[in-house]
């Protein structure tokens, strides 16, 4: 092993240099220390996967940065064009592997709309229930991993206790722990049993009981607050301009949630609040703390939705009529749904000739969310950069698709 590079994750690659924003050229004489170019990632504990961020720093301060994505580009759109519609659903699962059900939900809705397939009432309720369970799981993960990014290991492992139980719940109905392929075109794979629903109730109350514990460890922790207050502020203008959606946008004070304001599926039948950023929560509008706070609040709201859906759920079949050799007519469809990370949108074009889509396009919310760090992380400390990337809660599978 004679040949060993000098430093681990940097150098050697031609695209390693940071592109500099035009206005940063005039940094001038303020630089007193040596400027260094870091390559955070693609294997770096804080980049949540294989994101690579080239950072130009001045001491501890970030001068400029450029995220490089595509390290797990898995060609989901090409596969969507190459496979029949129903075979594409598992690939949607793998896009945002922390919110597989939500992805399936949106993808199936798009295909159903394209082919005019109706979904039974009970299946819609089941979809909402499992999607909200998935949202809680995803947010639990986001909260825990955010603690990990900030150096608090324990909340991360504690949340896994609840997360494992929730994953078991979905495992029971689908046979997979992480990726489910439970929601199918025209309905869901199988009905929920009474035992499962009882188990769901036990789990929801357990989550409700544990949330204050996590909040003590993170949300109300002085050190945590000092790390997140006034850090990585995404204000309304920046967020909208960059196309940030989900908790990131709501933390900026935008009172918008697809589930309530543009309801898909049957979300208009439930009564829930949409938490959004305000200056009296702590920190300032749109900072890392508020993003975290919104995730915590959304878990509570999801619990509400689950309970309501559980009460209202009618009896009936769970699978609609899907024609054999499903061939939708020519046309397009654009569906967006509220994923844990933001708005997932599916744009499908059918040429009407085959059982394969002509174009299957997905908007991963993380893709737009992570793009904005070039702007918001400038001038922050390196430690803050970690806090910002963590608070955006990206999943690289969805960024790269």
């Amino acid at each position: 092993m004679a040949e060993r590079g000098p430093d681990l994750r940097s150098g050697g690659e031609p695209e390693g240099a940071v592109e500099i924003h035009e206005r940063q050229e005039a940094v001038g004489r303020d630089l007193r220390t040596e400027e260094m170019v870091f390559n955070m990632g693609p294997q770096h504990p804080a980049t949540h996967g294989v994101l690579r961020v080239a950072v130009r720093t001045d001491g501890e301060h970030v001068r400029a940065l450029q995220p490089h994505v595509g390290n797990i580009h898995r060609c989901a759109e090409k596969i969507g064009e190459s496979l029949p519609y129903y075979q594409w659903i598992p690939y949607l699962d793998r896009m945002d592997y922390l919110a597989a059900i939500c992805n399936e939900h949106v993808g199936c809705m798009a295909i159903e709309r394209l082919g005019g397939i109706e979904v039974p009432e009970r299946a819609e309720y089941i979809r909402v229930i499992v999607a909200e369970v998935q949202r809680i799981l995803s947010h639990l993960m986001a909260i825990g991993v955010y603690g990990l990014d900030l150096g608090a290991f324990t909340p991360f492992l504690h949340q896994f206790r609840e997360r494992e139980r929730g994953m078991d719940l979905l495992d029971h109905i689908s046979g997979g722990r992480l990726l489910y392929h439970y929601i199918r075109i025209g309905g869901v794979k199988r009905d929920l049993s009474q035992d499962w629903l009882d188990e769901l109730d036990a789990w929801t109350s357990e989550v409700e009981r544990r949330m204050p514990e996590y909040n003590t460890l993170l949300l109300h922790n002085r050190v945590f607050q000092e790390r997140t207050f006034r850090v990585g502020i995404i204000d309304r203008d920046t967020g909208v301009r960059w196309g940030v959606t989900g908790p990131g946008l709501r933390a900026a004070g935008v009172d918008w949630d697809c589930r309530r304001d543009a309801p898909y599926s049957i979300y208009d039948r439930f009564d829930f609040e949409v938490p959004y950023g305000a200056s009296d929560i702590g920190g300032v509008l749109g900072d890392c703390f508020q993003r975290h706070w919104i995730r915590v609040r959304e878990i509570e709201e999801s619990l509400k939705i689950i309970r309501q859906a559980r009460e209202q759920m009618p009896e009936g079949p769970v699978m609609g009529r899907v024609p054999k050799g499903f061939k939708p007519p020519a046309g397009e469809v654009y569906i967006r749904g509220e994923n844990p990370r933001g708005e997932l949108a599916c744009y499908m074009v059918s040429a009407g000739k085959s059982d394969k889509a002509w174009r299957a396009r997905c908007r991963g919310p993380s893709f737009s969310n992570i793009a904005c760090i070039t702007e918001i992380a400038e001038g922050q400390l390196i430690a803050d950069l970690v806090a910002i990337i963590g608070s955006l809660d990206i999943v690289l599978g969805e960024v790269d698709r």
Partner: protein
């Protein structure tokens, strides 16, 4: 265990086999190696979540001494390639693997890294198996494999280290000239 070699037959020097003391020393060394497999904190995609779950509360990889996830490849012994390996990532993976000190082990976790998995047919950007890039010691199928399976893979690797005197696949390949000689397959 694979069928191609009796433990200690091809892979040990005959001289080494005869020397009892050396064998004992080797046993102690291997005992250390197998009980302190520090994985690199290196996840690619979905399987990385299951890898985290394996290290976390319910499954607790740390019981086997394999729970010290090191961020630096210089300090890790085991690379769990968890997730889909893309062509863009492949050179970096190779580089990270090269930065690990010997003896080093690789577990290919998940269908994608074993042979491209679901992306094999149409996924133009997915490498058809991580063994095209680095030698793999244990293959762990599944999409994604369950945490129990990962624990099993690590146990398999531990047995393999003890039986094969700690040599990683890279060394064995160089010695025997056979590619893929002695790779194990977990459940």
């Amino acid at each position: 265990m694979p069928d191609d070699a009796q433990p200690g037959e091809v892979l040990l020097d005959p001289e080494l086999q005869q020397s009892v003391i050396l064998t004992k020393v080797q046993w102690v060394k291997d005992w250390g190696r197998r009980n302190a497999l520090w994985p690199m904190a290196f996840g690619l995609a979905c399987c990385a979540m299951e890898m985290m779950a394996t290290a976390a509360t319910k499954y607790d990889l740390d019981r086997f001494g394999a729970g010290v996830f090191r961020a630096s490849p210089r300090q890790s012994d085991l690379m769990i390639v968890a997730g889909t390996l893309s062509h863009k990532m492949a050179p970096r993976l190779k580089r990270l693997w090269e930065q690990m000190p010997d003896p080093k082990y690789v577990i290919a976790m998940g269908a994608c890294v074993i042979g491209g998995g679901p992306y094999s047919r149409y996924g133009y950007h997915v490498v058809q198996g991580v063994d095209l890039i680095v030698p793999v010691d244990v293959y762990l199928p599944g999409c994604p494999p369950r945490p129990e399976a990962l624990i099993d893979a690590i146990r398999k690797l531990q047995f393999r280290i003890q039986e094969r005197t700690g040599e990683s696949l890279a060394t064995i390949e160089a010695k025997t000239g056979r590619k893929g000689a002695g790779a194990a397959r977990a459940s």
